[in-house]
Amino acid sequence: MKLALSKWFPVASISDLPYRHIFQGQLLGREYAIWKADDGNINIWENRCLHRGVRLSIGTNEGFELKCQYHGWRYANRTAGCTYIPAHPADAPARTICNNTYTCQEKYGMVWTCETPIGDVPDIKGFKSFTVLRPIPINSAYKNVRNFLSSKEIPDHHMLRSKQTEFWRFKTNAGNLLSLVIQPQSGNISILRGIYNLKTTGTEKLRVLKYYNSLMTKLRDEIESQHLPKLHERNPKISKLADDLSQFPTLSDQKHNLRVSVSEKVKLSDNIVKLKLKSIKKQLPTFHAGAHIDIVLQNGLIRQYSLTNGPGETDHYCIAVKIEKHGGGGSKIISENISVGDIMAISAPHNSFPLLRNSTHIIFLAGGIGITPMLSMAKAMHSMRQSFELHHFTKSNDKEAFSHDFASFTNKVITYNDLSINQSLTTIKSLLKKPKFSNKIYVCGPGEMIQNAIKIGLEFGWNESDIHYEYFKNENEIHKNSTFKIDLARSAMSLEVPSGKSVLQILKENGVNLVSSCEQGACGTCKVRVIEGKIDHQDVFLNSLEKEGQNIMLTCVSRAKSKRLILDI
């Protein structure tokens, strides 16, 4: 059935996809998990979890994500990208862990798909309005059903000849139309689907449905009573995964290669602007809660902004930008020069501030615009029905800015307006008083606030590894005046880093394409493993335990204390 691959077939009725249901469908032997997300988007995926092959249809529809029943992997609406692997809560899943998805079109009250589509689902003449009939599965091969239909007289119906061989059309005695189409489910099962060319409601609808149900059931019984020999079932091939997925790669993304258009620009408060970015052509990549993107601004400036999206919101990215009246150019350009419809270049999301969902409770502390990554995290926690609290320290004129984002969990949010430094400190102290098993602290905001929160947390006995933070920027002074050698263990290269240049720069100059983002030691995107050598850390990303560990460094700012570093790249 080679040809069949480029034909559109229905695989479900729209009414098969009620709220938070996963429909198990099958076409040409391939099984699908078909589900409607809370935003109305219909997903058609291969019914097989990439991890260990379990049917996704026995998992759960979480609204914007599908959750596998075996190990709880979560896959995002639209992209089918894996957003969370519970066995490794600290790791962002590789972006290439992505389920096989299939095209989907809704037409005539049915969901249609096609493996290699040419054009759209064809029109069926005379069906501007319609009633979808109850589909009837038949234990017989596609071609038997076809042969049967083309030879069979259906009482009170006259077959209309047409070129569209896959749709049978019949005229009733009363002058209405019936169209039948066969879905080849697997070698020996077909589904007879039909539509009637009047939109009916109430008792009339019930009458039509019952009438055609019994008519089509009779056809089924006749076909099945022919007892035609069974075909040999063939399973569709499962495509192999990309090589890199079988061995945990370090990803090297192309930088800034996504093009988006600004679809919304809203003032959230006097100082905060929200941008909604829509992809121009391709599907936007999957992001993880806490991820940020680089945005290339018109004058070549590159700035990082956290995504504020909730899980599975994959048809756009949202960012919130604080307009610094006197600050650097980035925010000014966004506030003044960017308007709806503009095209911008952005990077794929980087995730270096991962959300550890294996916590029984998370305390989020946000200072000012530092709330942005936490919006995305809080939404993810909320949708997984996990426990958290969000404390937002802000200025009173910004206090309403994010109320829309909080809407579904307002009772977990406390906003503090215009607190003095001392008041903030006392508040943070009262919040962090009691460290508990498996609880975590997340802080994001001005440098001083983060340092204070860490200090207070440690004083009250929190483990350093349970305090997570993200700086906007690295306020430390960074020196570049040392000279040392780097050896690349996996690429067998040896390079010299002169004073005045960073490790990252040298790597790039030599064709080693490492992903980077902020390039000032704050975002963690450019981190690499160090196998040997003493690191001169200058970033604000790693915590002190990680720094002491001496086996991870941020290549954009950190250097060597020893003569040589061996990097695991």
Partner: protein
């Protein structure tokens, strides 16, 4: 005090556990090892139920055998809302009885196939059981589809689930363990999802809970705001 002679992997016992969970009744469990030691055929147990079948419910001194009978008893006695078995509505009671027999028939088809595949009941003609189960599922799917069309989410013409739903659920949802796929019964699958979302639903080994309902938006729409000076 209620006491249930129970076995975790039995669908018939599960019916009773479901009913008790929905009615929030507490009870003692006396575990009878159906497999592998066949304790339900032991002399001690035959004293309690000469038919040698599980479940058996004891309400103080009153002994009731047969899952369907127990459902009727519990619903009549403990459902103050009278929704699970609305005895004052003759047509509903009739409908319920009809489906209780259907549920009982599943024991000879879907349940038997499961015993064959999972527990080595070799004297069962499994292909016949499967074929019959498919015939039953076809009828059930059609019935549920037309109920949906008429605005009834459950087996009987009621806005509330009844004991008929409880009685049918276990051996429908466990059918795959007997090699009976439900891929061609979409209305049955939708009904299973709805059933799993009945408040206080519990699972048994082999059954997973449904996905979440919509995350409830907070009643308290006001977030807390503290002002500095």
């Amino acid at each position: 005090m209620l006491k249930l002679y129970d076995y975790e992997l039995s669908g018939n016992c599960y019916k009773v556990r479901l009913m008790m969970a929905f009615l929030k009744l507490s009870y003692d469990r006396e575990l009878i090892e159906f497999y592998p030691s066949k304790k339900h055929k032991s002399l001690e147990f035959l004293e309690i139920n000469p038919l040698g079948q599980l479940p058996v419910l004891m309400d103080n001194d009153f002994i009731i055998r047969d899952a369907q009978a127990i459902l009727i008893y519990l619903a009549q006695k403990y459902d103050s809302q009278n929704n699970w078995y609305p005895s004052e509505k003759p047509s509903l009671v009739a409908e319920i009885s009809e489906w209780l027999f259907f549920a009982n028939d599943l024991t000879a088809t879907s349940s038997a196939a499961r015993l064959h595949d999972g527990f080595f009941y070799t004297n069962i003609h499994v292909e016949k059981c499967r074929k019959k189960a498919h015939d039953q599922f076809r009828i059930f799917d059609e019935h549920l589809y037309f109920n949906e069309q008429q605005g009834f989410p459950w087996i009987c013409k009621s806005q509330y689930p009844t004991i008929a739903d409880i009685a049918c659920f276990p051996y429908i949802i466990l059918s795959e363990e007997g090699g009976i796929s439900r891929i061609n019964y979409p209305a049955v699958r939708r009904w299973c999802d709805r059933f799993k979302r009945i408040p206080n639903f519990i699972v048994m080994s082999g059954i997973f809970p449904a996905g979440p309902q919509k995350v409830p938006d907070n009643e308290a729409k006001q977030s807390k705001i503290l002002n500095g000076n």
